[in-house]
């Protein structure tokens, strides 16, 4: 565990260092830039709540990917599941206008249903025809994008708007703030606790994890691997769908063009960087949200283009993921060399 944290920290520090070098070569001041980034993402009174709100779709799609990858199914359909979930929430938000205490849960459930259904298509095809969910979920992303684009340009278009977008959802579905923090953040916090509990403390979560590590072993042990596959696809689809719903309800309150942005792709990337660990996904999600939110600061204060944070993100992914294995091996070898040099080696293994 300690080694995991150490290697993550080293990776991030090295990446930030590389970023500083790139900035310096271009003539920008790295320290000032990082300072501005920190300021606009965390230190300013408005900054941290904004970062948290931006982290919502990153964390949820990241969790979706982490759980799927760690349990076996390769669900790469978070982008599609997110927009379908957003669409379901939007349609429900247009059709219903109930008191907020009912409207909000209903919209959230609809969002989750949308994501789950979209992932369910891939799960069904896998079970019925043994089609690789890796490919199917990826292809469904494109279909979802085009489908929603059609809907907001056609049947659901807001005729008053100048660009393709749906009409705004009923106000009872808007998510406001509790103090400085947006309610969507609280929803994510609750979701994380539930997800963590299910994944690490329940029988089902145990079976998922074992199947993800060694499917044959789980099967021979009596786990219902095929049924669990479907369950995990549906659940992770729902998480991505929930992200979509929250983006609509806490954000523009309508399904406008480009709603999904890169959230879900970033989420998948975060899951990989975090090596599918749940807490790691949340922390990296927050960190990447900080980078994205702080980008405004770098533009305003030091004139570094906002896209630079994307460069930084990419470097972090490369360094942490590529360096992970080498770093672990290096630390192990150093420890071994130290032990090997001693002339009074004593083994700690007790007599069998």
């Amino acid at each position: 565990m300690r080694q995991k944290i150490l290697s993550s920290l080293i990776g991030v520090v090295i990446a930030l260092g590389l970023g500083a070098i790139i900035m310096a070569i271009q003539g920008y001041n790295p320290l000032e830039t990082y300072g501005a980034l920190l300021d606009f993402s965390a230190l300013n009174s408005n900054a941290f709540p904004t970062t948290l709100k931006n982290a919502v779709p990153l964390i949820l799609t990241g969790l979706s990917a982490s759980i799927a990858f760690a349990s076996g199914p390769v669900n790469l359909g978070q982008p599609g599941q997110l927009v379908i979930g957003a669409m379901f929430a939007t349609v429900a938000g247009l059709a219903l206008d109930l008191p907020p205490v009912i409207q909000v849960p209903v919209l959230l459930v609809m969002a989750m249903l949308g994501g789950a259904a979209w992932a369910g298509i891939a799960a069904l095809l896998r079970r019925a025809f043994n089609m690789s969910e890796f490919i199917v979920t990826l292809m469904l992303n494109s279909i979802a994008d085009l489908l929603t684009a059609y809907l907001i340009a056609g049947p659901l278009a807001d005729r008053n708007a100048g660009s393709p977008t749906s009409a705004p959802i009923a106000a009872s579905g808007f998510l406001g703030t509790l103090g400085p923090i947006n309610i969507s953040v609280l929803i994510v916090a609750v979701t994380f606790v539930i997800v963590w509990f299910v994944f690490t403390r329940t029988t089902a979560g145990y079976e998922w994890r074992m199947a993800g590590q060694n499917e044959l072993f789980a099967r021979l042990g009596g786990c219902a691997v095929n049924r669990n596959f479907i369950t995990v696809m549906l659940l992770t689809g729902a998480l991505a769908g929930l992200a979509g719903g929250l983006v609509v309800m806490a954000g523009p309150h309508r399904f406008l063009r480009g709603l999904g942005a890169n959230y879900a792709w970033d989420g998948i990337m975060i899951a990989v960087v975090a090596n599918n660990g749940l807490l790691g996904t949340v922390l990296y999600g927050l960190f990447f949200a900080m980078l994205q939110t702080g980008a405004l600061g770098t533009e305003l204060i030091t004139n570094v283009p906002g896209e630079f944070t994307q460069v930084l993100q990419a470097i972090i992914v490369l360094v942490v993921v590529a360096g992970r294995v080498y770093l672990a091996r290096l630390l192990d070898q150093l420890s071994a060399r130290r032990l090997g040099q001693r002339s009074d080696i004593r083994r700690q293994i007790s007599d069998a």
Partner: protein, 526 residues
């Protein structure tokens, strides 16, 4: 006479803190057959790998023909002593897993890595065109020189396992090594093929080669070698003459205490029929019959051993009983329940299973010991769960893992360590412990002591006999004939998917079982 190889004060630490070798000094004479024995984890493979150059020692030095020679790579080792005008041959190693290319011929496999190129002109120098004639001829010459029975043009995928092993040895001889290291050479051979290998090794020794080999089989070690060195927990215990020592003494040196070789089986009256396999037939994806009309019975308190050369139907038998494969014909009845259409979990109500492959089937190496220990128990043992089976009680799970550790003597640090942190023998103990604790009427064991050392084997055999005395029905599949004959009450032999013999152990012997395994039914009848 200077020893051909001297290893002095070798130490080896594997990252992060596993001490594999601790101050090991050993010398090998030229032209001898020298065995290195020890329990799993004792360091014998590591010692040979350090000698061969595939591992680097952390401390110590190696002298080859009197010259310092800490080989940096296996190529160096095979090339031999450094900086010698008349360099004696190098050191080569034959590994336990046969690493050949099945689609290539024998000669193609032998020359791989040192291919002769056409000598004249640009085709040789620039393009490196293979001189196939010369390669084939040279390989044939080596085959004749050492009297192997090999066809250089045969495809390696088509020849027997024993022949493939000879190809591995031939590869080394082709490179003119003078020292051959063999790692568990008899692990892949049937009893009938072992004497042939030994004859070849003796012939090689007579031609001046030095042979070092690692083995678990103490009887074979004594039959073949001149000297035997024993390692224990990374330290050298001693070197003895094979002629003046015994299996018991070797075992005592390996383990540090007296080892019982022959279990004394209590006579147990077999009870009800627990496993009944009737007329079972299984087809593979090419519609070829892997099992034909197989009938096997196991009663409570009985151990039935299944013998057979690997690939004759044992894999299909085990997987059909477990539920991974479907039978095309026949019935499987466990404890009076017809399980043919039941899921694996439903079958687990009656059966515990220790699979052949610890890493691929028996457990998850990255998961913790606790997580590995509770598999199947998480569904069948109400003590480990709460909320009607939905939530796992991890503290009880940890206690369960600790109880396993006590009962089966597993050497581990804490139950939250990953399974891969344990030695092979201890991993096997965890898996065995898990399955035996399920306390089901039928216990299916597939190679339960594969890769285990003498001490662990003894402990496992003990537990198996205790299960038998407690009235469990046990189906034991093992490639180790001594183990099979020692433990089983009855022996069933599979050959080409058919049962060719089903006799009480007392009425047969090793030679006869070996014949059934290789030849099938006796021509003269059962």
């Amino acid at each position: 006479m200077t020893p051909v190889i001297e290893m002095r004060h070798i130490g080896k630490v594997f990252p992060p803190n596993v001490v594999a070798l601790d101050d090991v000094s050993i010398a090998f004479e030229e032209g001898e057959i020298h065995a290195v024995v020890g329990e799993n984890g004792a360091g014998k493979s590591t010692l040979m790998k350090v000698l061969f150059g595939s591992e680097q020692a952390s401390r110590g030095e190696i002298l080859y023909h009197g010259q310092p020679a800490n080989f940096r790579s296996t190529r160096d080792a095979m090339a031999g002593a450094q900086g010698e005008a008349t360099a004696p041959g190098g050191i080569g190693m034959v590994h336990q897993e046969i690493l050949l290319i099945p689609e290539y011929t024998v000669w193609e496999n032998v020359v791989l890595g040192v291919e002769p190129v056409v000598a004249q002109g640009w085709r040789g120098r620039l393009l490196g065109q293979l001189d196939t004639q010369a390669a084939r001829a040279r390989v044939q010459a080596k085959i004749s020189e050492f009297g192997f029975n090999l066809d250089p043009d045969a495809l390696v995928g088509d020849i027997s396992v024993a022949a493939r092993q000879k190809v591995e040895i031939l590869k080394l001889l082709y490179r003119d090594v003078s020292v051959l290291i063999l790692d568990e050479p008899t692990a892949v051979l049937t009893p009938q093929e072992v004497p042939q290998l030994f004859n070849e090794l003796r012939r090689l020794r007579d031609k001046g080669k030095t042979i070092l080999f690692i083995s678990h089989h103490l009887d074979e070690v004594l039959a073949l070698s001149g000297k035997v060195s024993v390692l224990r927990k990374g330290r050298m215990v001693g070197t003895v003459d094979a002629a003046t020592t015994s299996q018991a003494e070797l075992a005592r040196m390996m383990v540090g205490r007296e080892v019982i070789f022959e279990q004394h089986k209590v006579p147990v009256q077999p009870g009800d029929m627990v496993l009944e396999v009737r007329g079972l037939s299984v087809l593979d994806e090419n519609r070829k019959e892997r099992l034909r009309n197989v009938t096997v019975h196991v009663r409570a308190g009985e151990i039935v051993g299944v013998a057979g050369v690997e690939g004759n139907g044992q894999f299909e038998l085990v997987n059909v009983i477990m539920g991974l494969l479907k039978a095309s014909q026949g019935e499987i009845v466990i404890a009076q329940h017809n399980v043919a259409h039941q899921s694996i979990l439903e079958r687990r109500e009656w059966l515990a299973y220790v699979p052949q492959d610890r890493g691929r089937q028996g457990g998850s190496l990255n998961a913790s010991i606790t997580e590995n220990a509770i598999m199947t128990h998480h569904r069948l043992n109400p003590d480990l769960v709460r909320a009607s089976g939905w939530v796992l009680d991890w503290s009880r799970a940890r206690q369960f893992a600790q109880a396993l550790r006590q009962r089966f003597g597993v050497v581990m640090d804490t139950p939250s360590d990953p399974l891969r942190a344990l030695s092979g023998g201890n991993q096997q103990k965890v898996i065995l412990g898990r399955e035996m604790s399920l306390d089901r009427p039928l216990l299916l064991l597939d190679q339960p002591t594969r890769g285990l050392d003498v001490g662990s084997m003894e402990a496992v055999h003990d537990e198996i006999l205790k299960m038998r005395a407690a009235g469990k029905a046990i189906l034991l599949i093992s490639a180790d004939l001594s183990e099979l004959l020692e433990l089983s009450d009855r022996v069933v032999v599979l050959n080409r998917g058919e049962v060719v013999a089903d006799v009480p152990t007392a009425e047969t012997d090793r030679e006869q079982v070996g014949r059934w395994m290789l030849e099938g039914r006796d021509v003269a009848g059962d």
